[in-house]
């Protein structure tokens, strides 16, 4: 076994510092915005002088709270997120301090479950909804999304009292791109065989991305990349696996943990806690609002239709990272990712890359059953 990566401590420490920082910032009048999805551009929030936290729920203990009002048969991410908000706003003690740190929620019109959940939020927190076109490929979609982003900018200006100027926006684009470039550097190293870092380690880091300040996060990735360059690859000769599908929000590491415990090594994650969060850069020498609209509509989320860009992206990743197999992960009741599996599987079949579909929630009751499938799948691809 390799000694643990020292830079992982840095992430943990920054996390502890961050809570205090946010409290201080708020006391000085900075607005803190909660988001639940990658489609809400950080750059605009930061350019308005606000802070942001991504509050996607990965914890299981807030689900029961949510089920007091939400139907049971919706995705655990939605239930967990909603439960955290309700609990925090009704004097509960389940959720960590996160919800108490935010002023407003900026939601987005993505999947049906989230959209309808957001309609319930204003009772607890002020909520703004960013609309999205669902057919991302057309020029009309860009035009529409551009107008939505400008409206969102206006909303933020009113909220914070700060004007968003183009120069500041460009600066924020450059720093977000810098983060994306660093993540590309990190992920590129995983193309090695064997890779110098495990999927479970990367997931820990990717989950922090949504909580740390961009500066803290960038510094952490920088340290991690440097440390990895001197790390002798862990002695792992297991099959190279790609995870593809739903987000794995903080608190949820179930599937990655099982896959690696069974002896495989995860070399890339096509998810919101993986490539989807950083893959495309924003064009830097374009008019910034248009550049943002174009970049964000390229996020290959299953709420888009038809989602050809995701299918080809997955095939590209599979080749680029030399994967032996793909574990396609859907959260229970997430229809978008679940149904889209059929097209993904078809495309991968053409490339002769096997796929194992796993559907799961945040509970532990199916760990054994998933283990049985993973065992068989790894034997199959070895």
């Amino acid at each position: 076994m390799q000694p643990p990566l020292k830079s992982l401590d840095y992430f943990q420490k920054s996390y502890d510092i961050r809570v205090g920082q946010l409290k201080e910032k708020r006391a000085r009048g900075t607005k803190i915005i909660a988001t639940f999805c990658l489609f809400v551009p950080d750059e605009i929030i930061f350019a308005a002088g606000a802070g942001r936290l991504v509050l996607c729920g990965g914890r299981t203990d807030t689900i029961a709270r949510a089920e007091q009002s939400l139907p049971r048969n919706i995705c655990p991410l939605i239930k967990s997120s909603f439960g955290a908000v309700v609990d925090a706003c009704c004097g509960g003690n389940l959720s960590c301090a996160h919800v108490q740190l935010v002023d407003v929620v900026v939601a987005e019109a993505t999947c049906d479950g989230k959209k309808k959940m957001y309609e319930l939020l204003p009772e607890y927190l002020p909520t703004y909804v960013l609309d999205l076109p669902q057919k991302p490929g057309s020029p009309e979609a860009i035009t529409y999304f551009l107008s939505e982003l400008r409206k969102f900018g206006k909303y933020l200006e009113d909220l914070t009292g700060n004007a968003i100027n183009e120069e500041q926006l460009k600066k924020e684009i450059n720093s977000s791109n810098e983060t994306r470039r660093l993540l590309h550097r990190l992920f590129d190293m995983r193309r090695c065989d064997p890779p110098p870092i495990t999927g479970s380690e990367v997931l820990q880091v990717m989950q922090k991305q949504f909580f740390l300040s961009p500066d803290q996060f960038r510094e952490g990735i920088r340290q991690l990349c440097e440390e990895m360059e001197h790390r002798i690859p862990p002695a792992r000769s297991g099959p190279r696996i790609m995870i593809s599908g739903c987000p794995m929000s903080a608190g949820n590491t179930k599937i990655s943990d099982i896959v690696e415990k069974k002896g495989a090594v995860i070399v890339v994650e096509e998810s919101c806690t993986g490539t989807r969060s950083f893959w495309d850069l924003v064009e830097e020498d374009k008019e910034p609002w248009t550049a943002l609209a174009e970049r964000y509509l390229r996020i290959p989320c299953a709420c888009m239709t038809p989602n050809d860009q995701r299918i080809s992206h997955i095939v590209d990743l599979a080749r680029r990272y030399h994967v032996d197999g793909v574990v396609y992960y859907t959260l229970q009741f997430c229809h978008g990712y679940n149904i889209e599996r059929i097209r993904v599987q078809k495309a991968l079949k053409k490339e002769k890359i096997p796929l194992l579909a796993i559907e799961s929630d945040y509970g532990d009751s199916d760990v054994e059953q998933i283990g049985i499938r993973i065992d068989a799948f790894l034997e199959m691809v070895s």
Binding site: P354, D366, E368, Q369, I372, R373, D375, A376, F377, E379, M380
Partner: protein
Amino acid sequence: MITAGIDAGAATTKAVLMRDREIVGYRISGTAFDFLTSAEKIYDELLLASDIDRNDVEKVYATGYGRNSISFADRGISEITAHAKGVYFLFPEVRGIIDVGGQDSKIIVVADGNVTDFLMNDKCAAGTGKFLEYTAKALEVPIDDLGTLALASSHPAGITSMCTVFAESEVISLRARGIAKEDIAAGLIAGVAKRIMVMAKRMALTDHIAFVGGVAKNAGMKVAFEKELGVTLFVPFEPQITGALGAAISAHG
């Protein structure tokens, strides 16, 4: 070379002994208390009956849900791989396997004994032996007679629920309405067959299909599957041992 395969299933434990790739003997027994004790017991019985000394067995491979508990095994392999190897040994021409056991059902796609794809249902009792076991009880028919009984039916009853709990009460109300037992039995079997057929079609099984697992012993079930698929199924002489057999073959290397 002598090898052994142990299939530590949730409901039954199976053991197979092989000498130079020939089956020497096998044993099947209910899994009692824990996996290891059950396995030790039938393994010892099998060795004794086959007149083989434990020390002469070069390698023991375990498979099945409880394989990690079999401390005397040299290695564990997944039941999917094990079934594929076992069936390949018996029927090399087979392309697909339908395995319906007490607790789960699986569809395995194979090419020359290697798994190329698989699908499992183990989250709910529908489409497994458990479904038949519970509903047979509601029908007050021994599970082993359910298949033969079903074959005598000319008008299978329509059973709409695939949930075990609901199907049980459906059986009770069908009986109250005076529907013949054989028609209800046939309806139950057709229901399971349809459920498993959906899985088989999803995996695009068409021809050269083996049917294994405890439920394959059920004559009515085989007939119902063959009707749905329009082909004759390959059923081993002892459909419960293909997992243990595959483990013993893998131990051979």
